[in-house]
């Protein structure tokens, strides 16, 4: 049933609709990740990169707000900085969890 790529679908309905049994009338139709064996380091680097991208966006908007206030709305600046802040705290939480798992394994004696 993989006729359409997931990129074509807007909304997270398709993810829910095909991954959870209770949403597809109890039928078994598991969604397989495109590449289930991506190394964690790569995932982390990608995440850090995206977080950095959000920081840059926020920075640019703030700069524009100062240089040319007519071209940008203040709420855009606030939302961009909020996105940047939230993404950093997401990343921090994930890294903390990973480090905790690593430490837990190292503590096995």
């Amino acid at each position: 049933m993989e006729i359409y790529s997931k990129q074509q679908v807007i909304g997270d309905q398709i993810g829910l609709g095909t991954s959870q049994k209770m949403h597809i009338n109890g039928k078994d139709n598991p969604v397989k990740s495109d590449d289930p064996v991506k190394p964690f380091a790569e995932v982390l680097f990608n995440a850090v990169d995206q977080v950095n991208q959000l920081q840059i966006e926020s920075n640019n908007l703030e700069e524009q707000w100062i240089v040319a206030p007519d071209e940008v709305d203040i709420h855009q600046v606030m939302i961009a900085s909020e996105k940047a802040r939230l993404s950093v705290s997401f990343m921090k939480t994930i890294v903390e969890k990973a480090m905790k798992a690593y430490n837990d394994i190292m503590m096995i004696r």
Partner: protein
Amino acid sequence: MGTFSVLNIAGSGLTAQRLQIDVISNNIANANSVRTTDGGPYQRQVVIMSPIDNSLTFKSHLLPDALKKGIGQGVKVVEIKKDEKPPRMVYDPTHPDAVQSGKWKGYVMYPNVNIVEEMVNMISANRAYEANVNLVNSARQMFEKALTLGR
């Protein structure tokens, strides 16, 4: 739809309401402008909004349910239209722009702007803006709550 879709959608709402307020303030500022470059009095402007929809346009009942369009992506302003209501006629024969002849001789055409109506629209746009700000804040609170999972 990503993690920050709420923020994007609410942001589009904020932008639209900002524009609405801009247009309303222009209407109020021009409530007494009897002369424009197009001739005639200033005409009230109305903002037309519509949902942003850049998803698949191909529609077929053969598509599986899962491919139906998800929630939208916010709001956009499609047009700023002129209100075609007739102008307000005020009798003032000494005014330089008074009508010279005919049934409306001595009357001046004032813009079809009703200040009270504009004020009500302004309050409504203000509240809509506030609602979108609240949406952003509650989304942020949800994200932060999610981060405390398992602590």
